[in-house]
């Protein structure tokens, strides 16, 4: 199977041929031709101004009555005794979806020794029901136990939609839930909506953020998505009421073939990149390890974390857990400040989801300026101290 060309509409302009990542489109005399190299990625479809390209449709049709499923569920992640911020965000997104479907919004809380205030907090953010499974076997995360319990709950209660944070934990065990239930899963969504006929419209970046795709799961339920943290806005619903239901599950579900031997939380708070609101990142432009102290100082001032390019990591100036990019962490803080970083695509794919991007570089041609919302062309060794002074001065501190 391959993309479909409407020969009447094709103007042989060749735009699709340039856009095809597989090189599968050749421009003929009267219309383009698509070779067997087509992987049905769909990139060409959007580039065609004339609507001449389309993809074949999926599937074999629903195998069961999809109308049996209702309600929007959120897997509520927590740690250190409090609810993870992404779960607040998902409840707010889930509330909107549930209201459009006139269905309840439910949160699922898994763990051991869970305090009631966690459930109360989930209700404040919009949950109508909180299902709690509190078992010692769930004290530490394992993919198998967490997934099996969630599968059991979904099989018995049949929600129409399930959302989870695209955190390291969510992205690890949610695929097991989807595969066990034989349903589709969309990864790392940045936008959610629902169509009139109940399709969850899941929009996500792919190809390192250079392409956005809207994905549906037409024939299976629940419709499942992991959602990128810090994209949806968390909203407290004052006076919202809900109930808490403790659910017992068969012991069988709690078994895990994996044994967790040790959990060592990251001590260096500045390396907690995926949770930081602000990241100050440094590259090869910093010239030596000691100069990272400048970034540490600025990060300390604004309560942020310190990131790095692979260039800086390879020089040995900072440890690899700080690396942002294709082979490092993917981050999306409110502010990402790239200092002395050229902006290679492998770096950019790890940070372009950030809300505000500020680039400081002495080379006005540096590619980092193409993704930055705000560019500062300057020598970092002059600019950073001035910027730090400015912040201290505004706060009435002396440096």
């Amino acid at each position: 199977m391959k993309a479909i060309v409407d020969k009447k509409k094709c103007t042989v302009c060749g735009v699709c041929s340039d856009a095809c990542p597989m090189g599968a489109i050749t421009v003929g005399e009267t219309h383009v031709d698509i070779s067997d190299d087509c992987t049905l990625c769909g990139i060409c479809v959007d580039t065609c101004e004339f609507g001449a390209l389309s993809l074949p449709q999926v599937g074999t049709g629903p195998e069961e009555d999809l109308g049996l499923y209702s309600g929007v569920w959120v897997w509520a992640e927590w740690r250190d005794g409090s609810v993870h911020r992404v779960s607040h965000e998902l409840l707010s997104a889930g509330r909107m979806l549930a209201d459009k479907r006139s269905a309840p919004l439910c949160a699922v809380l898994l763990g051991s020794g869970l305090k009631e205030n966690l459930s109360r907090e989930l209700i404040t953010f919009g949950a109508d029901v909180v299902y709690v499974v509190d078992r010692p076997e769930l004290a530490r995360f394992t993919d198998e136990a967490y997934a099996n319990v969630l599968v059991e709950l979904i099989r018995t209660r049949k929600p129409e939609i399930l959302l989870a944070g695209a955190t390291s934990t969510g992205r690890s065990f949610i695929p097991r839930v989807a595969a066990s239930l034989r349903t589709g899963l969309t990864a790392d969504c940045t936008e959610l909506d629902i169509s009139e006929d109940g399709h969850l419209l899941q929009t996500r970046p792919a190809f390192g953020g250079n392409v956005m795709a809207t994905i549906i799961c037409p024939n299976r339920r629940p419709q499942m998505a992991t959602v990128r943290p810090r994209v949806m806005k968390p909203l407290v619903i004052a006076g919202h009421e809900g109930r808490i239901e403790n659910v017992s599950v068969p012991d069988e579900c709690l078994k895990s073939r994996v044994e967790v031997l040790e959990v060592i939380p990251e001590q260096d708070q500045t390396a907690r990149l995926t949770e930081a609101e602000v990241i100050i990142s440094g590259g090869r432009g910093l010239r030596k390890a000691e100069n990272f102290a400048l970034l540490q100082e600025l990060a300390g001032l604004v309560g942020g974390a310190v990131g790095a390019s692979r260039g800086a990591v390879e020089e040995g100036w900072i440890c690899p857990s700080h690396q942002v990019g294709q082979t490092g962490r993917t981050v999306a803080p409110s502010l990402y400040m790239a200092v002395g970083i050229a902006g290679a695509i492998q770096h950019v794919v790890g940070m372009q989801g950030s809300k505000f991007i500020v680039a400081v570089n002495k080379d006005p041609q540096a590619p980092i300026f193409d993704v930055a919302g705000c560019g500062v062309v300057a020598d970092l060794f002059e600019f950073l101290p001035a910027f730090i002074r400015k912040i201290r001065q505004e706060r009435g501190e002396t440096s």
Binding site: L40, R171, F383
Partner: protein, 263 residues
């Protein structure tokens, strides 16, 4: 021990940058490379082979030219390779991809450990590893940065999570997805290159795997891409000019107005 390594051929992004006006990829030709994380998966397998003389088989599902990627793994020291290729596989989502790969691992019959990359840099889902393990009904660990063995012959892996580090023990057979910390990929060697050039690479299609055409590819997929578009472009980029003091002042105002936390 028999290790299966799953590799994916992806479009090369090395010489690519983003066109600031159209916000699309600017490519110099369309070359394909092995997904960078999968080179680490290959390296992880070869390191185990160095210590235990395990047999390593590379698998890829893709169009016929994906054979090239398999030859590259052979030239780095992988023992055997199998190409999973069939028109029916086109348009696979992660479920259909996992179905196909799991069937191939089953057909190999004696696989003790499956190693995948953390994620593919084009599809970017990181779902194929966990879904494949679920279909094979074997335990798995994602985000693995180092691999050791217990005296009992179980795997002992270190995982890098958002919050820190976890050490897990897994019985074999199992599946892991790996990060770059498992070790810098070795270079192809002359000896292996010669072997790679001559190697016969079997091609398995849906029928060879005992899969019906409607359980794979687009037909066997549960998700459907309905629209692909370029991300909305960041329109209002500003450059801050002036002396460094003026720049510092202007950036401070800019961030303050944008209500950036911490400023």
């Amino acid at each position: 021990m028999h290790i299966a390594v799953c590799i994916k051929q992806v479009p090369d992004t090395r010489n690519v940058r983003i066109d600031p006006d159209t916000h699309t990829l600017v490519r110099q030709g369309v070359e394909s490379i092995i997904n960078p994380f999968d080179l680490f998966a290959v390296e992880a397998a070869l390191r185990i082979k160095d210590d235990t003389d395990a047999k390593v088989t590379a698998l890829t599902m893709g169009p016929p030219q994906a054979e090239e990627a398999l030859r590259e793994t052979l030239s780095r020291g992988v023992d055997e390779a199998v190409l999973l290729s069939d028109r029916a596989f086109a348009g696979s989502d992660t479920w259909a991809t996992s179905t196909t790969l799991a069937a191939a691992v089953r057909k190999l019959a004696d696989v003790d450990l499956v190693i995948c990359g953390k994620q593919a840099v084009d599809g970017d889902t990181a779902q194929v590893g966990p879904e494949m393990a679920t279909l094979l009904d074997i335990p798995y660990a994602t985000l693995v940065r180092s691999i050791e063995w217990t005296s009992g012959g179980d795997l002992k892996v270190t995982r890098q999570t958002d919050e820190g580090i976890e050490i897990w023990k897994l019985p074999l057979p199992s599946l892991i997805t790996v990060l770059k910390e498992v070790g810098e990929p070795r270079m192809p060697s002359l000896r292996h290159k010669m072997r790679a050039k001559k190697a016969q690479i079997p091609v398995w299609g849906a029928a060879d795997l005992g899969l019906s055409p409607d359980s794979v590819g687009l037909c066997g997929s549960y998700t459907q891409v309905v629209r692909v578009f370029s991300p909305p472009r960041r329109s209002d980029r500003v450059f801050i000019e002036g002396s460094v003091e003026e720049q510092a002042e202007a950036l401070y105002r800019y961030l303050k107005e944008a209500k950036v936390p911490g400023i």
